[in-house]
Symmetry: C2
Subunit: 247 residues, 2 copies
């Protein structure tokens, strides 16, 4: 009898080609998890993730589920995973859950945090997890621009996949922009995000902060539905998936 398990994961994505398996490499988060669980059960295992983080993106609260046939307790599976997974992937929590739980289909919302370093000194100890813009952005302008992005919109201008055939309508509930010490955190909450969407939103908001765009121009940008008109894609290393919401 298979049992479904829900896991919460933290990982430093620096050396991975993202969440999803890729041909010709074992450097994916999904691949590492499946390989350890296959070794544990002696069977092929499919780990379902709440979403796919891109190459170089980190997570503190990624959620995944997996159906396993095993005699081990939850605590034993958790220990086994953390023992055999590399030191940059950690299973923070693992619990048996309903067979019907699907980490992607049942996800109601996600929180992402994008961290820029805007201090005077170099962030020697956190440099792998922050993006250092070349200029200091005006945070107030960024906040004004962010207000235009809140709500349900067609985010086609902020979609990194040019071949996207499905709807590009998403709801962004909040964008919190806070400076603490030299760190500028942009925290996004929404029902779902398109490919590269958080990074393109961040790059565009930074361009507003640099004075290259006006906060008001966000309105036209949404209407234009053209990726070519939005800002740069902020680098992966500043992005972290913080939380996935379920009922």
């Amino acid at each position: 009898m298979k049992q479904n398990y829900k896991m919460v994961l933290a990982y430093d994505g620096s050396r991975y080609y993202g969440w999803e398996h890729q041909p010709n490499t074992d450097l994916t988060i999904q691949g590492k998890l499946e390989s350890v669980l296959s070794q544990m059960t002696g069977k092929d295992v499919e780990v379902i993730g709440a979403g796919r983080t891109d190459a170089g993106v980190h997570a503190k609260g990624m959620v995944a589920n997996v159906h396993l046939e095993t005699d081990k307790t939850e605590a034993e599976i958790l220990e086994y995973l953390n023992h055999y997974l590399p030191e940059d992937i950690c299973v923070m929590d693992l619990r048996a859950c309903s067979d019907r739980f699907h980490s992607r289909y049942n996800a109601l919302g996600k929180t992402y945090c994008y961290t820029c370093y805007v201090g005077d000194k170099k962030p020697v100890f956190t440099r792998r997890f922050v993006y250092i813009p070349e200029q200091k952005p005006d945070v107030e302008r960024m906040r004004k621009a962010a207000e235009y992005l809140i709500g349900t919109h067609d985010f086609a201008s902020f979609c990194g996949n040019p071949k996207m055939k499905k709807s590009t309508v998403r709801r962004v509930d909040s964008i919190r922009i806070e400076q603490k010490g030299g760190y500028l955190n942009l925290t996004y909450h929404g029902t779902g995000f398109l490919q590269y969407m958080v990074r393109i939103l961040t790059g565009t908001l930074l361009e507003v902060g640099f004075g290259l765009r006006t906060p008001e121009s966000m309105e036209e940008l949404l209407e234009a539905k053209s990726r070519l008109l939005a800002g740069f894609t902020a680098p992966a290393k500043g992005l972290c998936l913080m939380e996935v919401d379920y009922e």
Copy 2:
């Protein structure tokens, strides 16, 4: 006319062979600093450090001084250094100082912090800066043992250099042992430390915490003056030079 400058440095020591130049590698902190300053002034430059951190050891408050002939202001030198130094070395502060200031001879005390991770989960984002002991130590026992080490003693048992010919007497003013979240910080303050001394003290205190030694045995250990009787040398990556004191 040469001017003497005092610098405060932070670095992630992970990929370096320590502070001091080494033949056949440019991967030393001193070497990186001298090479950037030589490039800036067009002359050979000697950077004097308050001490020599070992390979893999980090710093948040290393102090160094250097005599330079330059037309640049303090702010310009600081900017030049941070621009050309690699991203894992940062000059936090740089000021002109008296010609007679010598970062090593004038140092009155040093603070080192050794960080162990003793939490349940893997420290995915801080793993390069902590040591993870295989057992959970009893912190109260470690604190009791540390009391025996405070004061002026011959620390020959805690000296990693078997050929040490000079005095191995040092004064340790305080050892603070604090647990915060999953992190166990051992903060040492003293007038000076022998080679590997902080790491051997930490390894020995951990062995007390594991129940392999008694707190009281520290007394005999100091008297024995034999490195063979002390504990293991805790790994470099947990150690960070926090501060150097001057008048």
